[in-house]
């Protein structure tokens, strides 16, 4: 491959980042988490079918099974990253005011982390049975 004359340094070319110092990470992470969401969401639907509507003890027994709890924890991470990135795009498309966009983006981050912390804590507490 012949390299055309360029003002860019070899390092900058390797990194593939422009003046924004950011590349395709957002897009890529959205795709990776979309992919991991598929099996994890399917497991979750199975868990809801099995445990939903059951009494307290039965539901806890299902959710606290190690294989299920681990899948649920992975789901929480995958979905929270994915939905935060996804909603950020929606905000950037529709919220134009500087302050409003700033506030909405931060609220989005807080929401995603709050959901993640609540679900992660709940699954662990159910699993460790306190």
């Amino acid at each position: 491959m012949s390299i055309k004359p360029s003002m860019r340094t070899p390092l900058s070319r390797v990194r593939g980042l422009g003046s924004a110092h950011a590349g395709t990470d957002h897009f890529w992470l959205q795709r990776v988490t979309a992919l991991s969401n598929v099996p994890l969401v399917l497991v979750f639907i199975g868990v809801v079918i099995a445990a939903g509507g059951r009494d307290y003890e039965a539901a806890r027994a299902i959710v606290s099974h190690p294989a299920i709890a681990i899948c649920l924890l992975l789901l929480v991470v995958s979905v929270c990253v994915h939905m935060r990135l996804g909603l950020q795009i929606v905000i950037e498309d529709y919220v134009h005011g500087h302050g409003a966009k700033f506030a909405a983006t931060i609220a989005n981050t807080f929401f995603a982390f709050a959901v993640g912390a609540a679900l992660g804590f709940a699954v662990l507490k159910i699993s460790f049975g306190a």
């Binding site: 079918i49 539901a59 959710v63 996804g86 929606v90 959901v115 679900l119 804590f121 159910i126």
Partner: protein
């Protein structure tokens, strides 16, 4: 995004504007694109329901009974039915994005077929899931 300097009298320029959504003739691909976004946002908000269910289960029997009562009520079931459809529709819509990411199915025929399959598939999977859900009770 970088800031664009907007001149004080921005209406002094007669720039072409992108028409609003209601101007376009509806098409399958446009509808499914919008559905993907709407279901994505619905799933986002609906995580509150998942939090309610699992945090209640972590809290204790009485909190869990309240959540169970709400979610198995008629209104609760309707909402969960809609949520099931949203997750399947968004999932199939996401898989459709993967197909495009590999550079396939941009032509008119496959594009339309995929768009219709997304809706038909999501409705079918939703019904199947609920039939299974009731069958194992």
């Amino acid at each position: 995004m970088a800031d664009v300097k907007v001149p004080a009298q921005r209406h002094a320029f007669a720039r072409p504007l992108s028409p609003h959504l209601q101007i376009y003739r509806w098409s399958w691909t446009m509808a499914m694109s919008i559905f993907h976004r709407v279901t994505g946002v619905a799933l986002y908000l609906g995580t509150a329901l998942v939090v309610w269910w699992l945090v209640a289960l972590a809290t204790g029997p009485s909190a869990y009974e309240t959540a169970r009562w709400a979610m198995t009520s008629l209104v609760g079931r309707l909402i969960l039915f809609g949520y099931t459809w949203a997750v399947f529709h968004h999932m199939l819509g996401g898989l459709r994005h993967f197909v495009w990411d590999f550079g396939a199915a941009f032509e008119r025929g496959p594009r339309m077929a995929l768009a219709k399959a997304t809706l038909a598939g999501s409705l079918a999977l939703t019904v199947i899931t609920w039939v299974v859900g009731y069958a194992v009770r």
